[in-house]
């Protein structure tokens, strides 16, 4: 009897303990998940958009000054600033979500192809170049590429004395437009403005119309990384390469395409590592915590994508004809990164992010 009672009591105790035990131990209070989001929002997204706005402002000022007094140095300065601004923009394309997409800013500053017929018609017409007129223009007539076309010329060899009055007026108006739009974009991420996206992004909750959970934020971040790899690997690079047609190349006038692609891959790297100018918390900190080998794989693949682009020695329009192996290798490396992010990083987020 005593034994039975003792056994029963032991049984009950065990059952009591086991029955209420949850499947997983209660996680320690861990702020890493949130810290990464805050770090990316501050040090990558907001930081990059502020840089973009500032560089666009510099470009606008340089164009105004060049158009007032055209000089060779002035033109070089404008072309350099176009490339600098372009470089920052391409490094934001790894996070094309939020105001840049939902407020339709992306197509207004970076539409390809340019409508050459319409652009020439605009130049030969008497259309005014006020802000209203530029706003009313189709996307293929404003933003980076029409500015590039006007600054560099069709063959990339335009000289400072070749600018017509109309071209100068159009350039000033276009650069003002891009300055205004990038300032608007930066302001939408500015935590000090009303209804700023930064706060929605960093504070998911059931009443947040954008993100109810941190997992949703992570999925948005990772999907954007996948998206840019897809766009570069399957679109921007493959299309002209498969068709062997340089006229399908983006950024042809400045011969800047390879740099564009590289900056797109750097953008993916920036998001993954959480760095733009300085290294802060990034996705890698979370991945490393649970899966060291996945972290290594992603880092290796990002580096492979960047170095394979580095291996292309010519411009993209010549490389698609003269360096098919290097171009194919770069496409393969980028698609391989895309597949890894899609089939390993996204499931990782589904598993480990709450």
């Amino acid at each position: 009897m005593k034994i039975m009672t003792k056994n029963t009591l032991i049984g009950i105790s065990v059952l009591t303990l086991v029955a209420c035990k949850k499947d997983h131990p209660t996680p320690e209070v861990d702020t890493l998940q949130k810290d990464v989001i805050v770090s990316l929002a501050s040090n990558v997204n907001t930081y990059a958009y502020n840089q973009l706005a500032s560089s666009s402002n510099d470009l606008y000022s340089a164009i105004v000054s060049f158009c007032a007094t055209p000089t060779s140095e002035g033109l070089t300065n404008c072309q350099d600033l176009w490339k600098t601004t372009r470089s920052i923009w391409e490094q934001t394309e790894g996070f094309l979500y939020g105001p840049v997409s939902s407020d339709n800013i992306d197509p207004r500053i970076d539409t390809w192809p340019v409508d050459y017929n319409a652009l020439e018609n605009v130049l030969s017409s008497s259309m005014a170049f006020g802000e209203t007129e530029i706003n009313a223009l189709d996307d293929a007539l404003k933003g980076f590429h029409p500015i590039e076309y006007l600054l560099f010329g069709q063959d990339g060899a335009k000289t400072f004395d070749q600018f017509t009055v109309r071209e100068k007026e159009y350039l000033v108006a276009l650069s003002l437009n891009i300055k205004t739009l990038t300032a608007e974009l930066a302001s939408k991420w500015d935590v000090n403005t009303n209804e700023d996206y930064y706060t929605y992004f960093t504070a998911p909750s059931t009443s947040n119309p954008y993100y109810q959970t941190e997992k949703a934020v992570y999925l948005e971040i990772a999907n954007a990384m996948v998206g840019i790899c897809d766009e570069v690997g399957n679109g921007k690079m493959s299309e002209p390469f498969v068709a062997q047609d340089p006229s399908l190349e983006e950024s042809p006038f400045s011969k800047n395409s390879i740099t564009d692609f590289m900056n797109n891959m750097r953008s993916v790297q920036n998001v993954y590592l959480g760095k733009f100018s300085t290294d802060n918390k990034g996705l890698d900190d979370l991945v490393k915590k649970y899966n060291l080998s996945l972290d290594q794989t992603i880092n290796t693949k990002i580096n492979a994508a960047i170095s394979s682009l580095n291996n292309i020695s010519g411009t993209f329009s010549t490389a698609i004809i003269d360096e098919p192996v290097q171009v194919q290798n770069a496409i393969d490396a980028i698609i391989s990164l895309q597949e890894c992010l899609e089939t390993e990083l996204l499931p990782f987020i589904q598993t480990y992010v709450k």
């Binding site: 939902s102 409508d115 319409a118 018609n121 605009v122 996307d139 119309p209 999925l219």
Partner: protein, 455 residues
């Protein structure tokens, strides 16, 4: 024996004591997965543009091609890439009006409307029952034209603001739009028009896969059950199959298939001729370009775009266990919203396209036409749809509208600035549902809206 029973009792008590009391039983777990197997969990701006999770192989590749086409910006001919825009058009790409695969830019009071266009016609119908074309303008007002060509006219929308009251005395404001066509390129004569605001494009493949019999089963043309709600199918001309078919898409269910919807949009909105619409919209008009470059869009790219739309996944519901959401769901039912916004459908069995086959989905539409009363009446019938009749729009994903497009403008002309205004514009067959909402307490209204935002 007693000891054994005691043992059983203790074990039962222990096991059941850990079960949480509560509301979870009241919730039908299935409708988390609004798109059945093709449900995704993304929120934020990418919520509407996710691929079917099950898609693979060639279909996935075609989806990718269609995705690029959906984003592609068209330019005036001749051009090495994406040639063929216009000569008259409303938009340069699909994505212009379906930003992030959702809605377009919100209409601005007094401004040119970017993502809203007017369907036009003259009175009467053609042999298939379609509205007659308006001579000189066709079936849609193209507000843009390539350089050197005149647009058909400019569309300006202005609003009058009116105040109404909930039964608890709280006021609300609605804005009633007026549409004005400025600078028509030629005399318009008398015409009928209907404004149309762009809609999200996800989940359409699943809606297309609902069997026709299941949609017709909910028809009640003569209101036999006397609940004040009829529900009527539209029958429209299927160009590809050259026959009259059930209308499924568009604000008045005037289009039978995704393919035809996409082809019509390429033609009417962008000016890209294709095998279903081989003539320029400006044909017989002064803007016609006389170029023999038809079809500007290849069949394969048209099919790829349609395939892309067909295989866009549906966002999962959110906050489904929130007690206020559950209360809102009950109010949605008891206020009769559910009578037209039918939650559940099952897609047909399709062995040739398993991704669409036999899916239990929760689109919250009956796919039928309903009289929505004089306030929402346009003056342009479309096949069997009268001026006051509109297809019940699906509600799935509606709570993500702000996340995707940074606004919450609803209804066929975007007049409602939020969900509450959209409900308050309901009339006709939906007058009872609207009044039920208007009579709710503030907390009940909030719960109903919270439920809608969980969709």
């Amino acid at each position: 024996m007693i000891r054994f029973l005691f043992f059983i009792f203790v074990i039962s008590t222990i096991l059941f004591s850990c079960k949480k009391p509560g509301v979870i039983e009241e919730y039908n777990e299935q409708d988390w997965m609004a798109g059945g197997t093709q449900t995704v969990f993304e929120q934020g701006s990418g919520a509407y543009r996710q691929t079917f999770p099950t898609l693979s192989g060639e279909l996935l590749a075609t989806h990718g091609t269609g995705d690029a086409m959906f984003e592609a910006t068209f330019v005036s001919a001749p051009a090495p890439k994406n040639s063929g825009l216009g000569p008259i058009y409303n938009a340069v790409s699909c994505a212009t009006c379906h930003i992030n695969d959702g809605r377009g830019m919100a209409p601005i009071d007094g401004g040119s409307s970017a993502s809203l266009f007017l369907k036009l016609s003259s009175s009467g119908q053609d042999i298939h029952g379609a509205p007659n074309e308006l001579p000189g303008f066709g079936v849609q007002l193209q507000t843009k034209a390539i350089f050197g060509t005149q647009a058909e006219g400019d569309l300006i929308v202005t609003y009058e603001y009116e105040t109404g009251y909930f039964e608890d005395g709280t006021s609300y404001e609605l804005r009633r739009p007026t549409f004005t066509i400025n600078n028509p390129y030629t005399s318009m004569g008398s015409y009928l028009f209907s404004p149309r605001f762009s809609r999200p494009v996800f989940g359409l493949g699943l809606l297309e896969a609902i069997p026709e019999w299941a949609i017709i089963a909910n028809e009640d043309n003569l209101d036999v059950n006397q609940d004040g709600i009829s529900g009527k199918a539209n029958y429209v001309w299927d160009i590809k199959n050259q026959k009259t078919s059930l209308g499924r898409f568009g604000w008045k269910a005037g289009v039978p298939s995704i393919l035809q919807q996409v082809a019509a949009a390429y033609s009417q909105d962008i000016g890209m001729t294709n095998f279903l619409f081989p003539k320029e919209t400006s044909f017989t008009q002064s803007q016609y370009d006389n170029l023999s470059d038809e079809n500007e869009l290849s069949d394969s790219l048209l099919y790829a775009t349609a395939m892309y739309i067909r295989t866009l996944a549906v966002p999962a519901r959110r906050n489904v266990q929130d007690p206020e959401v559950i209360k809102g769901k009950q109010l949605f039912n008891s206020a009769s919203c559910i009578k037209c916004h039918t939650p559940k459908h099952t897609t047909g069995v399709n062995v040739a396209f398993a991704d669409l086959s036999n899916q239990t989905i929760f689109p919250y539409t009956d796919m039928l036409l309903h009289d929505m009363g004089p306030n929402l009446t346009d003056n342009r019938p479309e096949y069997l749809a009268f001026e006051s009749e509109w297809r019940t729009p699906p509600l799935w994903g509606i709570g993500l509208s702000v996340a995707v497009n940074n606004h919450s403008f609803f209804l066929h002309d975007g007049r409602a600035r939020n969900l509450s205004e959209a409900i308050l514009w309901h009339g006709g067959e939906a007058i009872l549902a609207r009044e039920n909402y208007r009579k709710m307490s503030a907390s009940d209204r909030a719960a109903l809206l919270k439920f809608l935002n969980s969709l």
